[in-house]
């Protein structure tokens, strides 16, 4: 393989990886702390993308739109958690799956009603809509570099918050033994509400970042949700570190798999990886539950 192709694929794989991490982080925390399977997590990704496209059209400033889109999505997540999902914490998985599947349909239809059936247009402001030369013979889209940089920075910030702050300690404790920290007098529900909103905001951020590359349309969340689920399974449920490692792994294997393997095998390389890891370590790479 020639060097420029290798570098390009490496960047593509990493960029897909950080993207998946942003989506999977919220999902795995919610699943890990509260045992809530939230299939509607992909809808936050969609809401983030729609918000970004709408705000960008009004405001025109890229970074402002990105931040606002993530905040609005986090707010939607907070409202949803309080209104719709609280009653489902203690219900069996099947009930949660049914309820959140219903939410997916609800949000998809809602976006069609508000924004119409056609995909939205996202035109990036000048400099972001170009490619930059990286090495000889390869110029790489600016926006993909931005996604990569933002993803890495957010992951780093999250890592510091979770490993160094009191709030992060509560989240980690909640993920590994919820009953016990409840018994120590910590309000687990409040920790969870915050984790849920932050998770939603991260998914919204991913959606906003993805919208210049991908189609902003109703139902866009479901296709990435499958990838996010694979990441969570590989990384270990509830594990933040696991989600990061698994997301990068999935991103790289998917991009290189499609380039190097014959088409059929390339398409399923990620699923093969998941099957292999499940056989080797059924609890995932970094299980959060002791």
């Amino acid at each position: 393989m020639i060097a420029s192709l290798f570098v390009e694929q490496m960047l593509n794989g990493l960029q897909l990886g950080v993207m998946l991490f942003l989506i999977a982080a919220g999902f795995t925390l919610v699943f890990g702390i509260m045992n809530l399977v939230n299939l509607a997590h992909g809808s936050f990704y969609m809401i983030g993308a729609y918000m970004f496209a709408t705000i960008l059209q009004q405001v025109g400033a890229f970074w402002v739109s990105i931040v606002l889109a993530a905040l609005v999505t986090g707010f939607v997540g907070a409202v949803l958690e309080r209104l719709a999902l609280k009653p489902f914490y203690r219900r069996p998985y099947l009930d949660q799956v049914l309820a959140t599947l219903g939410l997916i349909l609800f949000f998809n239809e809602l976006t069609r009603i508000i924004w119409g059936p056609q995909p939205l247009n996202v035109t990036l402001p000048g400099a972001l809509n170009s490619s930059v030369p990286i090495i000889v013979g390869l110029s790489y889209p600016m926006i993909r570099l931005v996604i990569l940089a933002v993803g890495v920075l957010v992951a780093l910030a999250l890592y510091l918050i979770i490993s160094r702050t009191r709030a992060g300690m509560l989240v980690r404790a909640g993920a590994s033994n919820r009953v016990f920290i409840g018994a120590l007098g910590i309000n687990v529900n409040r920790v969870f509400s915050w984790a849920f909103s932050v998770g939603a905001a991260l998914a919204g951020l991913a959606g906003a970042l993805a919208s210049p590359i991908l189609a902003v349309e109703a139902g866009m969340g479901e296709s990435v949700l499958i990838f996010a689920l694979i990441v969570v399974v590989i990384g270990g449920i509830g594990s933040f570190r696991g989600a990061f490692v698994a997301a990068i792994l999935v991103g790289l294997i998917d991009t290189f798999g499609r380039l190097m393997f014959p088409p059929l095998l390339g398409d399923i390389s990620v699923y093969l990886l998941m099957a292999a890891i499940l056989a080797w370590r059924p609890q995932g790479l970094f299980p959060a539950h002791g």
Partner: protein, 391 residues
């Protein structure tokens, strides 16, 4: 008192069939939810506008359109078709956007002596050996559009072509259609996952290969993803890109300026210059606040074709056979210009080269560049046994 009421009810019940003979019921099935909902919605909007354009009465008859959702699933489509013909007693069924749903639903309609008029899907199965005197397609046979693209690429003298499509039935049909007419060499034939989001790996591979041109078929959201990423990767200006069914008004706003200059072949365009089409585009924009897609256009044409055939029969639907004869022979003024049915009830029509440009309001539209094929028929008509009986 009770007796007379009973008699009145009985009288009403008996009068029912009389009233029914004076109206026309059309069953409309399409994907109105799920990932294909955009297509279904376009077809329905176009069809309803077509019905309105003739005063809300097809053939001058009171018209009832019964709308059903197939959710993009063959079993749901077949079930809806069966209920429409058996319980609701519709005479004509139309709408279905997906070929696999169509193939499941059409037998239910034909078995119950109904007429099926396709306004989108045109699988080869129903154009060749499986053709039927009660099945019509007013839109196209799937292969014809890429076939005419093959002709265009030959005209341009393209020797080496790189082709890409999603890995599903229609994707393979498009490539097969292209290969039937394209005489040059296929450098690589790449099938990507259906619904794939990120094409960076494929684009990296494309960048490393020498080719004269690229042909792709990426309908719907896949096209938005692909064309945006192609542009961002800086490949759009370097390799000439040709496509079919991927730069319609359903997706053009989503692709944005990355679509500028893309060329495709089609039998209809929002910019096609004839009075009927101008009227249609104007009415559609006024009603639905967007530029119509080819799906909306075919829905509109379908409704007006039913109207024309009913009028030819004196504003009556006497039997499926008589209506089918009228459909086949009626002198129908289509918004696409030249149109007539071949012996397999698929269209003989003209195909154009389109190019994405901006109109005077700065919106992206498909400008008609030139005519590529006139009175073009599909390649399956020879296998259809209706040929001899009709011609």
């Amino acid at each position: 008192m009770l007796k007379s009421l009973g008699a009145a009810i009985l009288g009403l019940a008996l009068a029912q069939p009389m009233a029914q003979a004076q109206e026309i019921k059309v069953g409309f099935i399409a994907s109105l939810s799920g990932s294909q909902a955009t297509l279904g919605r376009d077809l329905l909007d176009g069809f309803q506008l077509g019905v309105e354009s003739v005063g809300g009465k097809l053939g001058g008859l009171p018209t009832e359109v019964l709308v059903r959702d197939d959710q993009g699933k063959p079993d749901a489509g077949a079930q809806a078709a069966q209920k429409l013909v058996e319980r609701d007693r519709v005479s004509i069924v139309t709408g279905i956007n997906l070929s696999n749903v169509l193939l499941a639903a059409v037998p239910r309609v034909l078995d119950a002596d109904g007429i099926y008029l396709s306004i989108n899907a045109g699988p080869s199965e129903l154009a060749g050996k499986g053709c039927n005197s009660h099945f019509f397609s007013v839109a196209h046979q799937n292969d014809t559009v890429p076939e005419t693209m093959g002709i265009h690429l030959n005209d341009l003298g393209i020797k080496n072509l790189y082709v890409m499509a999603p890995n599903f039935a229609a994707g393979k049909d498009m490539i097969a259609g292209l290969k039937r007419t394209f005489k040059g060499n296929i450098v690589a034939e790449i099938y990507t996952q259906f619904g794939q989001l990120d094409y960076s790996a494929e684009l990296a591979k494309l960048r490393s290969v020498e080719t004269d041109a690229l042909f792709v078929f990426y309908p719907g959201g896949m096209g938005v993803n692909f064309f945006k990423q192609l542009d961002q990767a800086g490949l759009k200006g370097k390799i000439p890109v040709y496509t079919v069914f991927s730069t319609d008004q359903d997706t053009l706003p989503g692709i944005g300026d990355a679509a500028l200059g893309l060329e495709s072949t089609a039998y209809w365009s929002e910019n096609l210059d004839n009075p009927l089409n101008k009227q249609f585009v104007q009415d559609f924009e006024k009603t639905y606040k967007r530029i119509p897609s080819p799906r909306a256009a075919m829905g509109y044409d379908g409704a007006r074709l039913i109207d024309a055939a009913l009028k030819q029969n004196g504003g009556q639907f006497k039997s499926a056979d008589e209506f089918a004869k009228a459909l086949h022979s009626v002198d129908f003024k289509s918004i696409r210009g030249n149109f007539k049915f071949d012996s397999n009830n698929f269209p003989i029509q003209d195909y154009y080269l389109l190019k994405v440009e901006k109109d005077d309001q700065g919106r992206l539209v498909n400008k008609v560049i030139k005519t590529i094929a006139t009175d073009y028929a599909d390649s399956y008509v020879g296998q259809c046994k209706l040929s001899k009986a009709k011609s």
